[in-house]
């Protein structure tokens, strides 16, 4: 009995310490703010402690392509009537968005609307199976609860990743270990960095205006399938443009639809029955528009969700005016002026749509 008692005490003690370190926010005080986990946590913490000036709040989410800068949207707050915020994060995927939204809005009642930026409304294949994206475990580890583990693990369609997700979900230290070992290299600098990020990072992000660098001078000839770049552009850049604009489109397999159904569906479930509207918007397609745009997919994830009362699908072409080389920094991402323009248009259009309900 003594051995059993001691071993049970050990297990409970270990669980308690693990819980205290990784499930109470204690580790956040030393977490590297610019790591994947750190970025997610910083964005969520910033959003939770942000001072609200308006009862009508709109939160936007997406990945690095979501060049929404709330400061531009809030400059016209008097006109729109809504205060905008963003937790869009480079590298974050719809699976991560769900956990981020749940973290920023646990009771699903803080916002008038959640704006979710998607690449298109047709679930076009992108050449990467997001269901087996191992990095997602690092992005959302700070958000995972014990009850999430079965579904989260099953969402990785790969036995090794499923197992890694189960292990990591149960023992979060296994995922935090790289960060912890990095912390051990320079502990005092890290503590200072984390402290500074907790204090000021909201303003760093809010005041960020983007770069003025653009793709001005780049030309794509879709008929002759050639790309011309002005001096100063590298071969790697040109290759990336070729891939984006001239490579044949990937055949539709339904893989992305299945993935988006699951995670956009989870986001919808989180807000179902609440006063918050779920707004999907089609991101600007890029600096050049391919002639072979994807065909309408009536069974795509967002189109199916659009049938629900809480969901709004923004018109697809509201950002057409931004789709110019001068407003993009590369083949996918808007530059500073592009983001400013995009933010203003988004704020006006979304506010208008919400007011019209």
């Amino acid at each position: 009995m003594r051995a059993l008692f001691t071993l049970i005490l050990t297990v409970i003690g270990f669980w308690a310490v693990e819980f205290a370190l990784f499930r109470t926010g204690a580790y956040y005080t030393i977490l590297r703010p610019d790591s994947s986990t750190g970025s997610v946590e910083t964005y969520i913490h910033n959003e939770l402690k942000r001072t609200r000036h308006n009862p009508h709040e709109v939160l936007t989410i997406g990945d690095s392509r979501m060049g929404f800068l709330p400061r531009y949207a809030n400059e016209i707050q008097a006109e729109t009537g809504y205060e905008y915020a963003s937790i869009a994060l480079g590298g974050a995927t719809p699976r991560d968005w769900y956990f981020m939204l749940r973290g920023a809005d646990p009771s699903a009642n803080r916002y008038s609307a959640i704006v979710v930026a998607v690449e298109d409304y047709e679930d076009s294949e992108i050449g990467e199976d997001f269901s087996i994206r191992a990095a997602d475990l690092s992005y959302v580890i700070g958000r995972l609860k014990y009850s999430d583990i079965p579904e989260f693990a099953r969402s990785f369609h790969d036995p090794e990743l499923e197992w890694a997700a189960v292990r990591g979900g149960l023992l979060k230290g296994l995922i935090y270990k790289r960060d912890f070992q990095d912390f051990l290299l320079h502990p005092t600098e890290r503590i200072d960095m984390a402290k500074l990020a907790r204090k000021d990072s909201y303003l760093w992000f809010y005041n960020y205006a983007g770069t003025n660098q653009s793709m001005e001078g780049v030309a794509v000839d879709f008929n002759n399938r050639t790309i011309t770049v002005p001096p100063g552009f590298t071969d790697a850049q040109k290759a990336a443009y070729q891939l984006r604009f001239l490579a044949p489109p990937l055949p539709y397999t339904g893989m992305r639809t299945a993935y988006l159904h699951q995670w956009l569906g989870k986001i919808y479930e989180h807000y179902r029955g609440s006063k918050t509207r779920l707004v999907f918007l089609h991101l600007p397609r890029g600096p050049f528009i391919r002639p072979d745009q994807p065909a309408l997919n009536p069974h795509s994830s967002v189109r199916e969700l659009a049938g629900r009362p809480e969901v709004i699908l923004m018109p697809e072409h509201i950002f057409d005016s931004i789709e110019r080389p001068g407003l993009f920094i590369d083949q996918m991402h808007m530059n500073g002026p592009g983001s400013a323009e995009f933010s203003r248009i988004l704020a006006k259009q979304v506010s208008h749509t919400l007011d019209a309900l």
Binding site: R2, T6, L7, L9, E18, G173, L174, K177, L184, L185
Partner: protein
């Protein structure tokens, strides 16, 4: 199935559950089946070899016991030829064939074959030899139950990398089997977790540094880098092998068996003689009892003692692997042991006064580290280069070991020093529950946060 994988722990849990749920008469069979399953999970082909040698030695031992005195030696020879023949073929054939080809100026690899080394062959053949020799000497009764003998040879906690258990130790546990006491259960679990911590949090971390240095020593010139790389390997091999042994001893304890201690804080040794009383003790004991003493030991004068020491260590070195580097490593240690004998045996067996101890321990550690260069370097040329760098000041101050790992090693040194004095990990399983739990929690957190868990790395001694 590595000890540091989830599959192994599932396997262990099933074995423990079946073992304790089964009636006593069935328990040996369960352990034997589990051990063969464990061996099969590595390479099913070599199970025939393991089984074949088991049958030969089992029969040979009975024959030795029954045969008249004049014929006992014949059966002993048959067993020795079978064991050493297999070991020699699988482990040393290519080495000797290659050296012979070189000597006769044939192209390299003229007579070599692609031979896979059967897992654990160095250990189970040594264990078999010790058993048959003990029967021959009349120190051990021949085992009549083939299941018992097969279990002795294949018992999974020590099958692949020891410790090398003497037959009388194993069979006294088997025949007078008692369930482990409360303290033994706690100690067993503690040893398993401690071993896992040593392996995953220390050995595997140091392995990354040692590998990067030894794979291309020329890329890291200078004495500082060389000492860092060699230090990393010294730490890797200690934590790796002693970690494995701790786990083996812990698992055996949970099953009611008591394995001999294999490591006793070897890097705190104050002489090479003391080092070999602390490092891989079950091999040292085997070499002493079955090689050094039969060679004459120290019974035929000083020079024969030195010869015997060097010969024993040369063969001990060769036992580790078929390469001249291992032979040199063995010879180096044999030479140092002889030198210490020459300078006065007592001086190197007696603990020095406290003021002299740190210096003596540091010198011993340095000498051991130099030996590790031959053990780890891929070629003799690499060894020579690294040794030259160890004594080369150089301008570059490139340390390969991150600071936090040095701190962790410092902390473990402190723990080892306290352990040396108080043996408190021994006492932990008898002490208050909170103290045991606190230490275990520390170990588990270390594995979780420091351990290399992405891809389990094999144990160093599995290759031997």
């Amino acid at each position: 199935m590595l000890f540091n994988t989830t599959q192994f722990f599932v396997f262990l849990a099933i074995v423990l559950a079946l073992f304790y749920a089964a009636p006593r008469a069935l328990r040996r069979v369960i352990l034997l089946v589990a051990s063969y399953f464990f061996y099969l999970s590595w390479n099913y082909k070599f199970v025939v070899l393991l089984l074949g040698l088991t049958v030969v030695d089992f029969v040979a031992a009975i024959a030795i016991e029954r045969a008249p005195a004049s014929r006992k030696k014949l059966f002993l020879l048959i067993s020795l030829i079978a064991n050493l023949g297999m070991l020699g073929f699988f482990k040393y054939y290519n080495f000797f064939a290659d050296n012979l080809a070189q000597l006769l100026r044939y192209p390299p690899h003229s007579w070599t074959y692609s031979i896979i080394l059967p897992l654990g062959i160095s250990f189970h053949t040594f264990q078999s030899i010790s058993y048959v020799v003990d029967v021959y000497r009349g120190e051990q009764a021949a085992i009549r139950n083939p299941i018992d003998y097969a279990l002795y040879i294949s018992f999974f906690p020590q099958l692949v990398a020891g410790p090398i258990v003497r037959a009388r130790e194993f069979f006294s546990d088997l025949y007078a089997w008692k369930p482990p006491s409360q303290e033994e259960v706690l100690r067993g679990v503690l040893l398993i977790v401690l071993g896992l911590t040593k392996k995953m949090a220390f050995a595997d971390q140091f392995a990354q540094i040692a590998d990067s240095y030894f794979q291309n020593p020329g890329a890291h010139p200078g004495g500082f880098a060389a000492w860092s790389g060699v230090f990393a390997f010294a730490m890797q091999i200690f934590f790796d092998f002693s970690g494995y042994t701790d786990m083996a001893i812990g698992m055996a304890l949970l099953l009611g068996f008591h394995f001999p201690v294999n490591f006793r804080r070897p890097y705190l040794a104050f002489s090479i003689t003391d080092f070999w009383h602390r490092w891989h003790m079950s091999l040292s004991r085997w070499l002493r009892d079955y090689l050094y003493i039969p060679l004459g030991g120290n019974r035929h004068g000083r020079w024969m003692t030195y010869r015997n020491l060097i010969l024993t260590m040369l063969l001990g070195g060769l036992w580790h692997g078929a390469s001249w580097n291992f032979v040199i490593w063995g010879g180096y240690h044999g030479g140092l042991l002889s030198l210490e004998r020459m300078m006065g045996r007592r001086e190197f067996e007696k603990r020095p006064p406290i003021w002299l101890y740190p210096l003596r321990a540091a010198i011993t550690f340095g000498l051991v580290c130099i030996g590790w260069v031959f053990f780890r370097a891929a070629t003799f040329a690499d060894s020579r280069y690294i040794i030259s760098q160890l004594f080369h000041s150089g301008r570059q101050m490139q340390a390969l070991v991150p600071r936090w790992l040095v701190y962790m090693t410092g902390a473990s040194l402190l723990i080892a020093l306290i352990e040396e004095k108080f043996e408190w990990t021994e006492r932990l399983s008898r002490g208050p529950a909170w103290a045991y739990a606190a230490f275990m929690i520390l170990l588990l957190l270390t594995i979780e946060l420091i351990g290399v868990t992405e891809k389990p790395l094999p144990f160093v001694y599995f290759q031997f």
